[in-house]
């Protein structure tokens, strides 16, 4: 066993057990230090397979190291570090433990070279992320986390059955490129798609991410969907149906975010939107598309976490989350505002931000593959991202009307985390070649041409123009928008309840009818046998009873002698 055989995931997974034992002074050191140790281990891994293990005749491979897995593990480790910095003042140790288990298992899933170890980490992620929501401890969060957990258990079960069928059919546990042409691989694909928040089961994301703590959501946004993007990249590149699913997700995210009033739900819907870009890219499946997806996932984790950090700061300082209650915060929270705007520009793929150099690769790949309709959809969606996240989020939270709230910027650690991620958003946008050199395929794409920059600015600025033109239509209302979860939160429970009401009514009617008949029978019997001469109503003297008892005992005595 060499140094390479030590799975980087174990640092955080074992660290999770250390956190509650460590004192108040040591814990911050672990929270900031262990992700950096993980990062060091990841960067030291050469290409190849390590940590191979035989279990019940099955080959497990805990480290499958190549540029793609190291890229995702890198951004996961950076995310854990910056998120940890942001969450340093989080009082719930349970959340901190859950976060470490969650991040560690995500890194484990990314390095998994076989389906069994992938499934193990996949399930730890599901449990740990549920714990993050649960750790808030409110009644609402208990309900939300159970809904969240059930959806992920469904996904996990589909995945497990799929994996078993696939192993049975192929005789190999290896996690390699698959085609959805057998029941096993289709079930695996469905399991992956549930975690990517694909339709119809996508409501779990906005449901849970808007209820976790100010810091919990920052972590939730990073790992579950992006691990799912990663396994789709590994397992199902070029699967055509993913293009349709991805485009649907893109517009679902935009439309629902436009209708939303809760600031973190707006950002949650825009996760579905951004992941939709990645799923579309995976469906296109060319080298350019795969590079674009990997780069976009990397950039997305950072700017989305940044956006949720700025929303989390607002929540932490004001305790408010609805756009209708917020507004005018830029006056007293300048750093949060600026960092939020940088995140918003990055998600809108503004030139010189990280989103610009990553998302444009996916659009380019659609053009190269001559997918005309997809390309026009992606372009409209790029404009729509600016509309629903790029302007809407900062506008309604930090500007808009004056809510009268004058909270100061959050504590130093939260500011520092936001500044760090803002710097990364701009740094990646200005020096794209650093990220490009880490992508799975060589990059020939040149993001910065005058035409591309001008065209993107035209698209975005006119999208912004549309926003302010239609501002009266965008006025926030105290509403939610029904989603597919309406079926399992409202329709099915109501239907079940009504069914049982009917069953209970019928049951009561049958019982009552029976009792009526029974009473009638009793009355009939008692009436027919009433009177001094009838068998049941005759009176017997006590003496005769005593005599009969004596006869029985005498007979018993006699029989015992005979024996």
């Amino acid at each position: 066993m060499t140094m390479n055989d030590f799975p980087p995931a174990l640092v955080l997974l074992l660290g999770a057990f250390l956190l509650p034992l460590a004192g108040k002074n040591i814990r911050p050191l672990l929270i900031l230090g262990l992700p950096l140790v993980t990062l060091g281990l990841v960067w030291n891994l050469p290409d190849g397979s390590f940590a191979n293990l035989s279990m019940f005749n099955y080959q497990l491979n805990f480290i499958h190291s190549d540029s793609l897995s190291r890229l995702f593990a890198t951004v996961f480790a950076i995310m854990t570090f910056a998120g940890g910095l942001f969450a340093l003042k989080q009082k719930s140790v349970m959340e901190q433990v859950a976060v470490f288990a969650y991040a560690g298992s995500a890194i484990g899933a990314v390095f998994a070279g076989d389906l069994i170890s992938l499934f193990i980490f996949w399930e730890i992620m599901a449990v740990a992320s549920t714990m993050i929501v649960l750790s808030v401890g409110s009644k609402i969060c208990n309900q939300v986390s159970m809904r969240y957990f059930q959806v992920h258990m469904l996904g996990g079960s589909l995945l497990l059955v799929g994996i078993l069928m696939h192993i049975h059919a192929t005789g190999s546990t290896a996690f390699s490129v698959m085609e959805p042409n057998s029941l096993g691989t289709i079930l695996i694909l469905m399991g992956f798609l549930i975690n990517v928040a694909a339709p119809p089961l996508s409501a779990w994301l906005s449901d849970a991410y808007s209820e976790a703590s100010f810091s919990g959501t920052v972590f939730l946004s990073a790992f579950t969907t992006k691990t799912a993007v990663y396994v789709l990249l590994r397992g199902f590149p070029g699967t055509e149906i993913l293009i349709f699913i991805g485009v649907f997700m893109i517009f679902y995210g935009i439309i629902y975010a436009l209708l939303e009033n809760d600031m973190r739900r707006i950002l949650a819907y825009s996760i579905v939107n951004q992941v939709g870009f990645m799923v579309t890219g995976i469906g296109i499946g060319t080298e350019m598309a795969m590079n674009g997806v990997a780069a976009h996932a990397f950039a997305h984790i950072i700017y989305k976490a940044l956006l949720l950090m700025s929303a989390g700061s607002v929540l932490y300082m004001t305790g408010k989350r609805k756009c209708t209650d917020l507004g005018g915060l830029f006056q007293s929270m300048p750093i949060t505002t600026i960092c939020g705007i940088i995140g918003a520009l990055a998600i809108s793929s503004f030139p010189f931000t990280s989103g610009f150099i990553s998302k444009s690769m996916i659009s380019q790949s659609a053009a190269d593959a001559e997918l005309v309709v997809v390309w026009f959809f992606l372009l409209a969606a790029s404009a729509g991202v600016f509309l629903h996240a790029g302007i809407k989020f900062p506008w309604f939270v930090f500007f808009q009307k004056d809510s009268g709230l004058r909270p100061p910027d959050p504590p130093w650690n939260m500011k520092l985390a936001m500044i760090f991620f803002s710097a990364l958003c701009i740094g990646i946008g200005v020096w794209p070649e650093i990220l490009y050199s880490k992508l799975p395929y060589p990059v020939t794409y040149v993001p910065y041409t005058v035409t591309h920059v001008v065209n993107m600015l035209q698209l975005l600025m006119f999208s912004g123009f549309a926003f302010f033109l239609l501002l009266p239509l965008m006025k926030r209302t105290l509403t939610i928008t029904l989603d597919f979860d309406w079926l399992y939160r409202r329709v099915f429970p109501t239907a079940l309840q009504n069914t049982f009401t009917v069953i209970w009514k019928i049951d009561t009617a049958i019982r009552q009818a029976f009792f009526v008949k029974f009473n009638q029978a009793l009355t009939f019997i008692s009436q027919s046998y009433q009177g001094p001469s009838k068998l049941l109503s005759r009176t017997y003297p006590a003496g005769s009873m005593v005599m009969w008892v004596a006869v029985i005992l005498a007979t018993y005595l006699l029989l015992s002698f005979i024996h």
């Binding site: 439309i255 509309l387 500007f399 999208s463 912004g464 123009f465 239509l473 928008t481 029904l482």
Partner: protein, 84 residues
């Protein structure tokens, strides 16, 4: 905020008017920039004059209106699920 206190310079009506003028001037310049760049159309129409400008504007208006229309059917009070 007390009424006597001067509003933040960014939200004074004068600034907002200035921002609108500035914004419209910038949009005009962006459209005119099409004269000076060499488009790389993929499918023809996207190389036409001002394509990215009108496409961005029209698709965004369409998305907002579509969302508005969908909201008529799917919007509920945000206390809808509160009795769970």
């Amino acid at each position: 905020m007390s009424t006597t206190e001067e509003k933040h310079w960014l939200v004074r009506p004068k600034t907002i008017r200035g921002l609108w003028y500035g914004g419209i001037a910038m949009l005009t310049m962006l459209v005119l920039a099409d004269f000076f760049i060499h488009p790389h159309p993929y499918f023809g129409i996207d190389g036409s004059f001002g394509f990215y400008s009108w496409y961005g504007l029209i698709t965004c208006v369409a998305m907002v209106i579509f969302a508005k229309a969908l909201g008529i059917f799917l919007k509920r009070k945000d206390t809808y699920y509160d009795d769970e």
